[in-house]
Symmetry: C2
Subunit: 405 residues, 2 copies
């Protein structure tokens, strides 16, 4: 049985690195804070007798040897970089739950058949360097190493240079070897478990995600002297569009999602009729056919709202199909949850995670625990020690079953 108090203490100790005023964390990828966090956690891994490897994109792998050194490892992990105003649990929990699994195995003197790896993936958040989920993206051949190393932050500083600067530019090739299974424990980042008062979610996959930009162009003019009939108001068309777009998921509950999160007005002046409005659209669904239908309905709405003097432009930003995790890995999680008699539901991750990319090349499953109020990507992100402990316990049992003992 894992030690919940010890896990909590490690979470709080790591949260000291890049602590923010409201009790959150700012540990952007490849900054000094990220280096300090990496050094701290690696020290804890070493204390448990683990060997450390760093690959060329800075992913960290801590290994606890199994009975047979040449067998494929069973892996768990997550990330320790954060949003600029991030929380103490997003990512950190998955890494430190892995550490707690190792501590428990050492304490109980259990030797597994397969080696166990705990991974820390580079730049999951994508706040400082785009694209998101970079380390796991390279590991799963979704991104090339060169694309990742060349990415630059807003100041023009590259991933390559920052990895060197903080001494995490490893020499090992990225991926290219067998991993038996990958498990990731994570806070849900949504409200379902907390609202339903359940300590654990068995995650069977992740929603597919289509990202778009819409640009509506009319003609800006002075709000005073321009009679209504002469106007080509880009916001009028946009707000009509947004109203209709936001209903696309209504008939597709609970797995359909639609969000307009970003909207920029031009020229954004109180007494000027908007000449141009740009907004983002984020469509998600667990089922690709449904997601494609949502796309079609969305595209049809844009055509319907097109009118004389108003131009509507659609740009696809990203398309990620729905992910279905590996049935045998999900069963390991199911078995663990059942043997521990934990109240739970099966659920689909609404957000992207390292596990989503890794599942493309490795049998994968995830374990969710509640975060309070469903609030994440926020300094006030919070979670309950007993539920974090329950999730780590599930992780231990699933990995033990997979690694053999």
């Amino acid at each position: 049985k894992v030690n919940g108090a010890r896990l909590w203490q490690s979470l709080m100790d790591l949260a000291e690195v890049g602590a923010t005023p409201l009790g959150g964390n700012c540990r952007l990828a490849l900054t000094d804070e990220d280096k300090t966090g990496r050094d701290l956690v690696i020290g804890w891994f070493r204390d448990e007798g683990m060997s450390i490897r760093i690959d060329q994109i800075g992913n960290i792998f801590a290994r606890r040897e199994g009975r047979q050194a040449d067998l494929a490892p069973v892996m768990c992990g997550s990330h320790i970089d954060t949003q600029p105003t991030g929380g103490r649990f997003d990512g950190n929990y998955g890494v430190l739950a892995g550490l707690e699994v190792i501590r428990t195995l050492n304490e109980q003197k259990i030797t597994t058949e397969h080696p166990i790896d705990v991974a820390i993936w580079t730049n999951e958040e994508g706040s400082r360097f785009v694209p998101v989920m970079m380390g796991s993206g390279v590991f799963s051949n979704t991104l090339t190493l060169e694309e990742a190393l060349s990415a630059q932050d807003k100041a023009g500083i590259s991933v390559r240079d920052e990895l060197k600067r903080i001494h995490y530019a490893g020499t090992e090739a990225v991926g290219g070897y067998d991993v038996k299974a990958y498990f990731e424990a994570h806070i849900e980042q949504g409200p379902v478990l907390d609202t339903e008062n359940l300590p654990v979610g068995v995650v069977t996959g992740a929603l597919g995600l289509y990202w778009y930009d819409v640009v509506v162009t009319g003609q800006e003019c002075h709000a005073g002297p321009s009679p209504m009939s002469y106007r080509r108001d880009a916001l009028k068309t946009s707000s009509q569009l947004i109203n209709r777009i936001l209903t696309i998921a209504d008939s597709r509950q609970p797995d359909g999602r639609v969000t307009v999160g970003e909207l920029d007005m031009h020229p954004n002046s109180r007494n000027v009729v908007p000449g141009r409005v740009k907004f983002s659209v984020d469509l998600r669904h667990s089922d690709k056919a449904e997601l494609d239908k949502m796309h079609d309905e969305f595209a049809a709405l844009l055509s319907e709202e097109k009118k004389e003097g108003i131009d509507i432009e659609l740009k696809v930003v990203q398309k990620m199909p729905p992910t279905h995790f590996n049935e045998s890995c999900i069963n390991r999680v199911r078995d663990a949850v059942n043997s521990l008699a934990l109240p739970h539901i099966e659920m689909i991750s609404g957000a992207g995670h390292d596990a989503v990319y890794l599942s493309r090349t490795i049998p994968t499953a995830m374990i969710f625990v509640p975060c309070i109020g469903g609030i994440s990507h926020n300094e006030i992100e919070d979670a309950r020690p007993d539920e974090l402990e329950a999730g780590a316990h599930v992780l231990l049992n699933a990995m033990l079953a997979e690694a053999g003992s």
Copy 2:
């Protein structure tokens, strides 16, 4: 008869000061460019034998004496400060049409009964220093001198300091003496005259204007893991509100106007459901009772859209009642237009102008000329020489009738 070519040349010469790449003007109030523009135009006034006075808010008055020095002056004018990406005609036209009136009177050796003043009002645009129409606001006791002098730009530099720096901190008290009448020629800044192909508009007043800020607060959350039913989406409520707000003027054509020009999202991130949306509302009408009804309908909409978990806050930013210009001054303009047999309509200014404030203490009227496509507050603002000439001709005749000869 005025000299249209000479007027056009002066407009083009002034437009050299702070010229912008797209053929517009950037001559923000009390900058070096404003100083250069003021110096240039004052030189032209001196060439015509006019005396120059500067008051404590930097308003410039160029006087051509009448037969009787102690009579109240007949005044015209406008402003020469511009928007950051402003045009060559907004404001400048009213000042240089006044100069052209003086040049014509001198050329024709006409002496008027009353003195004639041409005014250049400080900071009409309000782009650098809020509030707008500052110089005419102090002159008409709408603002106090102290409020105006204390206003600061975004860098924290005050009107007081900038007036001193550019040597336009005059010593004369602001206003406080009789002005017989004030006439302002201006481009329409809207599409009506240009669309209707009319060289001149007789302006009988200005729309009343109510300005508001609306803040809609929900709760931001991650766009992926948050099922639709858990969301408190501030943009969803805002776009429904905006759709309805933008119809408030529909039954009040042509004098009702409603604009949402500014909208700011928080946190404005592609995969975050908006937690807070702030937007501006600009209501205008020629009739105060109608404007008040528009206010009531607007406020009622906000109450109707209020729902569980969404807060809607309304802040009044400014209220300016409709302006009715002086009937006898309007008649001077009507008579001039008729005697010149110019095709015209009577119209109400949709925008605020120095004349709107001045009409509170001085008998006032305005003359509009078309701007091409109705485009203003834009570098591509444009106007036709023959129509600018026609407007100046109307100004000459109206002032001559008022000043007596």
